[in-house]
C-alpha cells in the first residue's frame, strides 16, 4: 500500500487507524462490554407463525436459581409508554399504523416473535429459564404469502387495521404512459420475482442497558447506525427526556441497514434494566438474527415494457407487491424509492408505477443495503430479455438507451437530473476490459465440449447522495452537522453523528481534515458514538462520503480560519499571511516563524486572552451536500454452469465504477467487493425460507448459506474519470452500489450461459436445483 504522502492524504490508500485494535482483538463490540452487576437477557419466542396468546406463565422461570426475573409482554407494556414503533414514528412511514408492543401480548405474528424476557446471572441460565416459561397458544391460519395477504378473506394480523395491507395501493404516472404504450412497436409482459434474503452482519443486534436511578439516566451501549436515532426511540418508549438517555457505541460488527433505531428487544431490555436496577445485556444469537431480526427484498413485479423494433425502451408500467412481514416498518417506504429510481440512467419516456405492501406472518422487512435494489434488478433483467427477443447485444441495447450527458442534464422521467452520470463511459470501459468477441469464441468452443459459460452486464446509478435539488439539500436526511475543535493538545477533533460499522470513517474523515487543515494524519481524531458529545447523524444511504466528507472539508477550512485568526495575535502577523503545513503555523516566506499547531492550541487554552481575542478554537459546521451527485457504473460477470448438477460459479467479475473523487481507494474497493459478494450470495446461496405453515426454515448457517472465499472471485475494479460538479466536494457514496447491481449482473450471465436451452429467467434466486428445473422446463417456473 502507498506510504503516507507528505503533501496529500486524500486519494491515497492510507492504512486504517482502526486496524491496530481490530487486528489484535482489542476492538470493543457490544458483547465485550462488562459492567459490575450486569445480568443477561434471553427471549422466549413463538414457535408458531400466527396464534393467539392465551396465557404466559413465567412463575417456573422466576423460581429457577440464577434467574432474577421474567416478564411478559403485558408487563412490559405496563412499564413503558405505549405507542407506535418509535423508528416509524420518527421517520414517518406511509400507511396505517398497526398496534405495536415490545413483546407479543395477545397475538404472535411470526415464528420468533418474542413473547417473554428472562433476566438471569448468565445467558446460559437465562436460556434455561426460557425453557421453563409456559405459553398457551391458540393456532391461527397463517398468512404466508403476499397474494393471500391481499385477499380480503385472509385473517388480519392486526385487529386495528382490519386487513393485511401495510400501505394502500397507489399508482403514479410519469410522462404519457397511455400513448407511449399505444404507439409502441412491441409490448412485452414479464412477471419478475425477487426472493426474501437478509443482512446477516457477523455481529447480531444487541445492547447493554444500565439505569442510574439516582440521576434518572438510562445509558445504553448499543450496536447501531445512529446513536441519536436509538436515543430518540429509547427516550420515547421509556418516557424519559432525551437528555436523560445516553447512547454509546464502540466497534460494531457490521449492519448493512439492520441496526437502525432500538429494536423491540432492545427497548424491552432497557425497560427491564430499569426495573431490576442492574445493567442488563442482550446480544442476539445467530438463530435469533436469522429468524427474528428482519429480512428484506421479497418483492414481485408485473412489468409491461413498451419497446421499439430497434430496441428503444420507451416506457415501463410496473405493478409491485412487497411482502413487508409482520410488523411493518421501513418496507413500506421502499416502493416510493423504487418508483423514483426505476428509469435509471436511461432515456425512459414514460413510467407507470403501482405498488401494494402486504403484511404476512414473517419477520419484518428491514432496510438491507440498497433497499430499493430491485428496481435495478427488474430494469436490467428486462433490458436483457428484450435484447434477446430483438437479437441485440446486451451492451448495445444499453448504449442505445442510456441518456447522453447533456448540458443542462437530461431529467429522469421521475424528475431528477442525470447530472454528471457516466453510465455510457462505464459501458464502454467494461467492453474494453472484457473482450466480448473473444469471450463469444471461447463460449462457442466450450459449448462444443459440453461446457456452458455465460456473460452478463448490468448498469446502475444510485443517489449517493443524489444531485442537488431546488428544494434544498441533496438526498434524504437533510444537512450534515459536525463540530470541529482544536483541542488543547493540538489535536484536530471531529465530532460526528456518523456511526461507522466497517466504513473506515475514522480513517477517511481524518484524511480529508488533515489535508484541509494542514496537520499530519495522526494529529486528527474522529469522535463518534456518544449522544452526549456528537451532533445528530446516521450512517446509511451511501451519503457519508459526500455529506460527512463535505462537512469535514468545509468545517476544517472554517476551523483553520479561526485558528489562523487567533494565531495572528500570537505571531503578530495578518491571518492572510499565515499557512498551516505539516502541523506548523508559519508566516508565508518566513519558515523560521513556524510555531507548532499544538503550541498555538496550548496558548489558546491558557485563558490569558481578553474578550477581544477569540480563543475558542471550535466551529459548528453544516453542509448541505453541495452539488451532490450520482454514483454508478457497469458490472460484468462471466459464469460457468455445470448443466448436470446446476452448480454455477462466477469465474470473472469486472466493475467499472464512478463514485466521484476517491478519498481512500482501498476503502472504496472494499465496499464494492463486499457488496458484490452479497449480490453473488443472493443469487446463488442465500434465501430466508418459510414453509407453507409459516415455519422459518433457515435459522442456522447450515441452511442460510453465506458466500465464502471459494464463491467470490477476484473482482477487478476500474475507477472511471468522474465529472466534477462541485468546487470542493466531489466524493460520492459507494456503500450500496455493489449489492444493487451484482444480482442482475450474475443472473444475466447465467441466462446467457443457459441460452442454448432456451432458458429465460424471471427470478433472482438460482440455487442448483432451480437451474436444472429451469433447463428442463425452459418456461418460467412457479
Amino acid at each position: 500500500m502507498a506510504g503516507i504522502a507528505a503533501e496529500r492524504y486524500t486519494g491515497a490508500s492510507i492504512k486504517r487507524s482502526e486496524d491496530p485494535r481490530i487486528l489484535t482483538g482489542a476492538g470493543r463490540y457490544v458483547d465485550d462490554i462488562k459492567l459490575p452487576g450486569m445480568l443477561h437477557a434471553a427471549f422466549v419466542r413463538s414457535p408458531l407463525a400466527h396464534a393467539r396468546v392465551l396465557s404466559v406463565d413465567v412463575s417456573a422461570a422466576r423460581a429457577l436459581p440464577g434467574v432474577v426475573t421474567a416478564l411478559t409482554g403485558a408487563d412490559l407494556e405496563a412499564m413503558t409508554v405505549p405507542g407506535p414503533d418509535p423508528l416509524m414514528a420518527l421517520i414517518g412511514g406511509a400507511g396505517p399504523t398497526p398496534e405495536f408492543t415490545l413483546l407479543a401480548t395477545d397475538k404472535v405474528r411470526f415464528m420468533g416473535d418474542p413473547v417473554a424476557i428472562v433476566i438471569a446471572e448468565s445467558r446460559y441460565l437465562a436460556e434455561d429459564g426460557c425453557e421453563l416459561v409456559e405459553v398457551e397458544y391458540d393456532d391461527l391460519p397463517p398468512v404466508t404469502n403476499a397474494a393471500f395477504a391481499l385477499d380480503p378473506n385472509s385473517p388480519p394480523l392486526f385487529a386495528n387495521l382490519g386487513d393485511n395491507i401495510a400501505r394502500p395501493h397507489s399508482r403514479s404516472e410519469f410522462g404519457d404512459v397511455r400513448s407511449t404504450f399505444a404507439n409502441a412497436d412491441r409490448i412485452f409482459d414479464f412477471h419478475i420475482d425477487v426472493h426474501r434474503h437478509q443482512n446477516v452482519p457477523m455481529e447480531g443486534r444487541g445492547c447493554v442497558a444500565s439505569y442510574d436511578a439516582g440521576l434518572g439516566v438510562m445509558t445504553v451501549y448499543a450496536a447501531t447506525q445512529s446513536v441519536h436515532v436509538s436515543r430518540i426511540g429509547i427516550a420515547m418508549r421509556l418516557g424519559l427526556e432525551r437528555d436523560k438517555v445516553r447512547v454509546l457505541a464502540g466497534d460494531i460488527g457490521g449492519s448493512f441497514g439492520l441496526k437502525i433505531g432500538a429494536s423491540r428487544e432492545e427497548l424491552a431490555v432497557a425497560a427491564a434494566s430499569r426495573l431490576v436496577g442492574q445493567p442488563v445485556k442482550w446480544v442476539e444469537d445467530r438463530s435469533e438474527n436469522l429468524t427474528a431480526s428482519g429480512q428484506a427484498r421479497e418483492e414481485s413485479f408485473d412489468v409491461r415494457a413498451a419497446v421499439s423494433n430497434d430496441g428503444d425502451l420507451l416506457g415501463l408500467d410496473v405493478k409491485m407487491v412487497i411482502d413487508t412481514g409482520s410488523y411493518p416498518g421501513m418496507g413500506t417506504m421502499v416502493p416510493a424509492i423504487m418508483e423514483a429510481m426505476l428509469p435509471g440512467p436511461y432515456k425512459l419516456a414514460a413510467l407507470g408505477f403501482e405498488s401494494t405492501a402486504a403484511i404476512t406472518n414473517k419477520a419484518s422487512y428491514v432496510a438491507y443495503r440498497g433497499p430499493w435494489a430491485s428496481e435495478t434488478f427488474v430494469r436490467e433483467r428486462v433490458l436483457d430479455l428484450i435484447a434477446k427477443d430483438l437479437g441485440l447485444d446486451p451492451v448495445e441495447i444499453r448504449l442505445r438507451n442510456v441518456a447522453p450527458r447533456t448540458n443542462p442534464p437530461a431529467l429522469m422521467i421521475t424528475g431528477r437530473p442525470l447530472v454528471g452520470v457516466t453510465s455510457k463511459e462505464s459501458l464502454e470501459r467494461v467492453a474494453q476490459l472484457v473482450d466480448f468477441p473473444a469471450f463469444r469464441r471461447r463460449q462457442a468452443e466450450a459449448r462444443a465440449q459440453g461446457r456452458y459459460l455465460g456473460i452478463g452486464v448490468a448498469t446502475f446509478i444510485e443517489a449517493a447522495p443524489g444531485p442537488r435539488s431546488p428544494e434544498g439539500p441533496s438526498g434524504p436526511m437533510g444537512t450534515e452537522s459536525m463540530r470541529l475543535r482544536l483541542t488543547e493538545d493540538g489535536i484536530v477533533a471531529l465530532f460526528t453523528g456518523q456511526m461507522p460499522h466497517g466504513q473506515s470513517h475514522q480513517t477517511t474523515l481524518a484524511q480529508i481534515a488533515a489535508d484541509e487543515f494542514g496537520v499530519p494524519f495522526e494529529q486528527v481524531r474522529i469522535v463518534v458514538g456518544d449522544t452526549d458529545v456528537v451532533p445528530f447523524g446516521l450512517t446509511g444511504g451511501s451519503r457519508s462520503a459526500t455529506m460527512t466528507g463535505g462537512v469535514a472539508l468545509h468545517g476544517a477550512r472554517q476551523l483553520k480560519a479561526k485558528v489562523l485568526d487567533f494565531a495572528a495575535h500570537l505571531m503578530e502577523a495578518s491571518a492572510q499571511d499565515l499557512l498551516i503545513t505539516d502541523g506548523n503555523v508559519w508566516v508565508r516566506g518566513d519558515p523560521a516563524s513556524a510555531i507548532a499547531v499544538s503550541e498555538v492550541a496550548r496558548r489558546a487554552a491558557s485563558g490569558q486572552f481578553g474578550a477581544d481575542v477569540d480563543a475558542t478554537l471550535e466551529v459548528e459546521a453544516t453542509f448541505d451536500g453541495g452539488e451532490g451527485g450520482w454514483s454508478g457504473g457497469t458490472h460484468c460477470a462471466i459464469v460457468e454452469v455445470d448443466v448436470e448438477t446446476g452448480i454455477a460459479k462466477v469465474e470473472r467479475y469486472v466493475a467499472a465504477e464512478d463514485c466521484g473523487a476517491l478519498i481512500n481507494p482501498a476503502v472504496v474497493e472494499g465496499q464494492i467487493r463486499g457488496g458484490v459478494a452479497q449480490g453473488i450470495g443472493a443469487v446463488l446461496l442465500e434465501r430466508s425460507a418459510y414453509g407453507e405453515d409459516g415455519s422459518f426454515q433457515s435459522a442456522t448457517f447450515m441452511d442460510y448459506l453465506m458466500p465464502t472465499a471459494c464463491d467470490v472471485p477476484r473482482i477487478e475494479i476500474e475507477h472511471l474519470e468522474t465529472v466534477p460538479l462541485d468546487a470542493d466536494v466531489n466524493f460520492r457514496g459507494v456503500g450500496e452500489g455493489g449489492m444493487i447491481v451484482a444480482p442482475p449482473t450474475v443472473v444475466n450471465a447465467i441466462e446467457d450461459a443457459l441460452s442454448p436451452f432456451g432458458v429465460r429467467i424471471y427470478e433472482q434466486h438460482l440455487p442448483p436445483a432451480r437451474i436444472l428445473e429451469l433447463m428442463s422446463s425452459s418456461r418460467p417456473g412457479p
Binding site: 445467530r286 448436470e644 446461496l685 448459506l705 442448483p768
Partner: protein
C-alpha cells in the same frame, strides 16, 4: 444458543467408559470430537443427562496397518488420518474423502469414530465405510463385537451400537492391486455436507473390472450401496456406455430426501451424473496406478 445443563464424566480408560455407558444408557451421549454433538447441544436439540468425554482415553487413538487391514482408533483425529502415510498408501478412498470433511478447524477436533458413530448420511466417512465394507469394533459389558458396515448404519443418525457399547476402532481393508478410486461430492459450497456424494472404487485386472464399489452419501437416511450398478460393472471393460447404464441402475429406484437444498428429483439427477463422473475418474485412477 447455550448448551443446556448436563453432567460431565471424563473416563481415562475404556473400561471406565463402558461402566459409565452401562450405568446411563440412553441418557448419555459420548463426546468425542464434538463437532457434530456440540452444535446439537447448543441448539438444544440433543438433551443427554450425561456427557461421557472420551478424549482422555489415549488407547483409542492411532493408525496401524496389519494383515490387509488398516485399523484406526475411534478417537483418531480426522487431520491425523488425513496426514497419515499409511492411510494414503493403503486406503486411498479414505484419503480422498478426508479433505472434504468440513474445514481444517473441524478436522482438528473431529474424529474418525465420532463421525461414523454419528452416522450423518450426508457425511463423507459413512459412504467410504459402506463402500469398503469397513468393520466396526465395539466393546460393551458383555464383550467385544465386530460389526460390518452393512449392519452398522441402521437409520438416520442411528447405528447398531448399543447404548452400553463404546466404538473402539474402525477397520478399513487395504486397497488391492489395480484399485482406482474416486470420492466426489456436489455441495452448495466448499466444505459443506454433500447434497449427493459418491465413494467409488474399481479394481481393474487386465483392463477388466473385477470389483466395483459405489456408495452414496445424501440420497437416503443411511449411506447406500448401488448394488445393481456394481453387479453390472463386474466383468466388463470401462466404457462410457457402461458407465451410463450403471448410472441408470444406481439411481433407478432411489427415493432421495427433499430439503432446502434440493428436491428428490434433483438429487436423483445429480446422483446419476456423479456415477458417470465417479466411474470415469476411478477407472482413470486405476489405469494410472497400473502404469
Amino acid at each position: 444458543m447455550k448448551l443446556p445443563p448436563v453432567e460431565y464424566e471424563a473416563p481415562t480408560t475404556v473400561a471406565e467408559a463402558i461402566d459409565l455407558l452401562a450405568e446411563h444408557l440412553d441418557e448419555a451421549s459420548v463426546l468425542a470430537g464434538g463437532q457434530s454433538l456440540i452444535p446439537l447441544l447448543a441448539l438444544r436439540l440433543a438433551r443427554p443427562a450425561v456427557l461421557i468425554d472420551i478424549n482422555g482415553i489415549d488407547e483409542l487413538s492411532g493408525v496401524s496397518a496389519t494383515d490387509g487391514w488398516v485399523a484406526i482408533g475411534a478417537m483418531t483425529r480426522e487431520y491425523v488420518a488425513e496426514k497419515s502415510e499409511t492411510v494414503a498408501d493403503t486406503v486411498p478412498l479414505l484419503a480422498a474423502a478426508l479433505p472434504l470433511i468440513g474445514h481444517e478447524a473441524i478436522r482438528s477436533r473431529g474424529t474418525i469414530g465420532g463421525s461414523l458413530a454419528h452416522a450423518d448420511p450426508a457425511a463423507e466417512l459413512p459412504a467410504v465405510a459402506r463402500a469398503l465394507d469397513a468393520e466396526f469394533v465395539v466393546r460393551g459389558p458383555s464383550g467385544m463385537r465386530v460389526i460390518p458396515a452393512a449392519q452398522w448404519f441402521e437409520g438416520y443418525l442411528t447405528t447398531s451400537r448399543r447404548p452400553d457399547e463404546l466404538l473402539l476402532e474402525v477397520r478399513f481393508p487395504a486397497a488391492r492391486r489395480g484399485t482406482g478410486i474416486s470420492f466426489a461430492e456436489v455441495a452448495r459450497r466448499h466444505g459443506d455436507f454433500a447434497i449427493v456424494g459418491l465413494a467409488a472404487s474399481l479394481v481393474l485386472s487386465g483392463g477388466v473390472i473385477s470389483d466395483a464399489r459405489l456408495a452414496f452419501a445424501g440420497i437416503s437416511d443411511v449411506p447406500v450401496r448401488a448394488a445393481a450398478a456394481e453387479d453390472l460393472l463386474v466383468g466388463e471393460r470401462p466404457s462410457t456406455e457402461l458407465f451410463d447404464e450403471a448410472a441408470r441402475r444406481a439411481t433407478g429406484d432411489v427415493d432421495p430426501p427433499a430439503d432446502l437444498h434440493g428436491s428428490s428429483d434433483y438429487r436423483k439427477t445429480v446422483a446419476a451424473a456423479m456415477v458417470r463422473r465417479g466411474l470415469r475418474a476411478a477407472a482413470d485412477n486405476a489405469a494410472r496406478g497400473s502404469d
